[in-house]
């Protein structure tokens, strides 16, 4: 989920920078070095090898600033290219100040309503999403949408992609019906303007499928994910990060369907691709490790799962800090693996930590809180503390009843 269409946003940005630099290079007859850097960065980004592209991005910034000065919009484009690489590598704290600097340059040069400004704001919104700062993300995206609507028109792919981003935020806030409607609108528009085989279409299908899954529409989710995976593999290769992201989601769906054998094949393949491209300490790798581990827990390999999950928890804590919802998810998975080994006290501590993080982060009626309450109730129950368990189970049920009334569903994770 983390990479997804952001890869393509990077590519769009790179194309813009490329055009600008091409003009500059031709006009000033400078050596073609930045162009080669850009080509290489584009190639590496396409397969998700951001870490390798980052040093080239730094060179690009230096080289561009040497050519045009550090207040020129072209320098801002180079900075945004580098910042996006950092962001996609999970280095959010490095990416954000760069984007702010680029934003200031653009706003000074073009005013605050300009497509370049929208691009930087969109990148900032992805950082906010990764940090689980959903209100901030939505505010940024609302600005992006307003600019793109006005400057590019409402049917432009970039405008439609903004709808996809807004829908992703709604999805994470458990506003499933709204998210689904937005994804479907965007999907129809993107198919109309780009055809059925485009990466934007594939990424939207992937997102739509995950919302279907959350709502318990498993058959619909599977159809969309298979279509999305087919397109990603055709465009980027079977072993690409883009394909791995979708393969992971299909694996998660298969786990929900009880089809563990199929899920395991997808998880292992995806883990391999992600580690190769992103390195072993990337947050997406941690997510993949956690998913594989959870599957192991279900299949009686809980002690091995525990090892994987401790590793995943460390990576996630390092990448996003100790209070992020992703840490809550890891703690939750780890608690499963530990309770499967009958260490109920330890599991209870982790479930309580997971609940505390989620309560601090989400509104009181979010399903992630319901799941945490449910798990805490379950561990107390297993420990024969029935009377203590009941209020947790009741609160969980009342949250889910409120959210899922139109579509009965369950949440296992």
């Amino acid at each position: 989920m983390r990479c997804g269409y952001k890869c393509f946003v990077v590519r769009v940005l790179i194309a813009v920078v490329l055009q600008g630099l091409l003009a500059a290079v031709t006009a000033r007859a400078q050596p073609a070095d930045p162009l080669q850097l850009l080509r290489r960065i584009t190639e590496l980004s396409k397969v998700g090898r951001y870490a390798e592209a980052i040093p080239l991005g730094r060179e690009l910034v230096t080289e561009t600033e040497r050519m045009v000065g550090n207040e020129h919009p072209m320098a801002a484009m180079a900075i945004v290219t580098l910042a996006d690489l950092h962001r996609l590598q999970g280095q959010l704290d490095e990416a954000e100040p760069m984007l702010r600097r680029a934003l200031a340059i653009y706003e000074k040069a073009h005013g605050s309503v300009h497509p370049t400004v929208a691009q930087v704001l969109a990148s900032l919104s992805y950082i906010a999403i990764d940090r689980a700062h959903y209100r901030e993300a939505e505010q940024l995206l609302t600005r992006v949408l307003a600019i793109r609507d006005r400057e590019l028109g409402s049917n432009h792919p970039d405008t439609l992609l903004t709808l996809v981003s807004i829908a992703r935020v709604r999805h994470r806030e458990a506003r499933y019906a709204e998210a689904e409607a937005l994804f479907q609108n965007a999907l129809a528009g993107l198919r109309k303007s780009l055809g059925t085989e485009h990466a934007y279409v594939s990424v939207t299908l992937n997102n739509l499928a995950v919302v279907y899954k959350e709502q318990g529409k498993l058959a619909a989710a599977e159809a969309q994910l298979r279509e999305s995976l087919r397109i990603q593999e055709a465009l980027f290769g079977v072993e690409s990060v883009a394909a791995a992201t979708v393969a992971n989601n299909l694996g998660e769906l298969h786990v929900r369907q009880g089809r563990y054998a199929e899920a395991e094949i997808l998880y292992r393949r995806s883990l391999d691709s992600l580690e190769r491209a992103l390195g072993p300490d990337h947050p997406d790798v941690a997510n993949q490790l956690a998913n594989l581990a959870t599957l192991f827990t279900y299949q009686g390999r809980a002690s091995e799962a525990e090892g994987l999950l401790r590793r995943a928890l460390t990576i996630t804590e390092t990448a996003v800090g100790p209070d992020h919802p992703d840490v809550a998810a890891r703690a939750n998975n780890l608690a499963h693996a530990i309770s499967a080994q009958h260490r109920l006290q330890e599991a209870e501590v982790l479930y309580r930590r997971s609940l505390a993080i989620r309560e601090a982060h989400f509104g009181p009626d979010h399903p992630a809180i319901a799941i945490a309450l449910d798990n805490l109730g379950a561990i107390l129950h297993q420990n024969n503390r029935f009377a203590e368990a009941e209020p947790f189970a009741r609160r969980s049920l009342s949250i889910l009843r409120a959210i899922l009334r139109p579509h009965p569903s369950t949440h296992g994770q």
Binding site: R259, Y260, I265, D281, L308, R311, G377, E390, L397
Partner: protein, 259 residues
């Protein structure tokens, strides 16, 4: 939602508030069947909880039916390869042995003091179910060993031994790989990890080839190795007039519980 309903109902059952638990369990079952279809592990867990609920209420026939549906789900999953490895399949049955045991208890009570045909059928089903609890892994291992010892054909014994060794190699390589992947980045060695993957793949290929050979040339072994419980009637036929089979079934200590 099914999860929450299921968990709350189990808690209420344990608190002795059965009249509150019943409707929640039925609702959980409906929700889970609607989302997952009728052959899903989550459905099996809810059926098990529902059956336990009926057991608490001493509604033996209802309990029997629900336990039977729950255990049928696990048996089907084992047969259809929903779980990848033989080891994983054994683990899944072992981890979910409670409905098999529950079926024995429910059948015992439902048939108590009766010699009707229906009662005999219940006892026969309980006997088969108990064999699942006793551990298919052990049963299968004994079957394989005896097949090996009985085999006049040296080639069969050879193939079986090799396939058992290969299966263990694959498992060991995978355990080593997962242990390696669990290490911090600086402690990892991609060359040795790749070696494990290559080794495991080679063993898997060979294992598959042996499986094909066995199925083709020694079909009676393949049948034996895929052991299913022996029906009561077949066992009775094997016993002499003055013989009795005493079959002890281990009791579960913890209830199956929703994830």
């Amino acid at each position: 939602m099914g999860n929450s309903l299921n968990n709350l109902a189990s808690i209420l059952d344990n608190l002795g508030r059965h009249e509150e638990a019943g409707p929640l369990l039925l609702r959980a079952l409906i929700v889970r069947e609607a989302v997952f279809g009728s052959a899903h592990p989550e459905v099996a867990v809810t059926l098990h909880n529902l059956a336990s609920h009926y057991l608490d209420l001493q509604q033996w026939d209802a309990a029997f039916t629900a336990f039977k549906r729950a255990s049928a789900i696990w048996i089907t999953r084992r047969a259809t390869g929903s779980v990848a490895s033989e080891e994983g399949r054994e683990v899944e049955i072992r981890n979910n042995a409670d409905p098999f045991l529950g079926l024995v208890v429910a059948a015992h009570h439902a048939a108590e003091g009766s010699q009707t045909e229906a009662a005999l059928r219940l006892r026969a089903e309980a006997f088969e179910s108990a064999q699942w609890v006793a551990g298919m892994g052990a049963a299968s291992a004994i079957a394989r060993m005896s097949a090996r010892m009985a085999a006049a054909d040296g080639r069969l014994a050879e193939l079986i031994r090799e396939s058992q060794d290969l299966a263990e190699e694959v498992r060991a390589a995978d355990r080593a790989l997962i242990a390696a992947v669990s290490q911090p980045a600086q402690a990892r060695n991609s060359a040795s990890e790749q070696e494990l993957v290559t080794k495991s793949q080679a063993s898997s290929v060979r294992l598959k080839a042996i499986g094909d050979t066995l199925a083709e040339h020694f079909p009676e072994y393949a049948t034996l190795a895929g052991t299913t419980p022996l029906p009561l009637n077949d066992v009775v036929k094997l016993l002499g007039g003055d013989e009795a089979l005493v079959f002890l079934c281990p009791a579960a200590t913890t209830p199956t519980f929703g994830r």
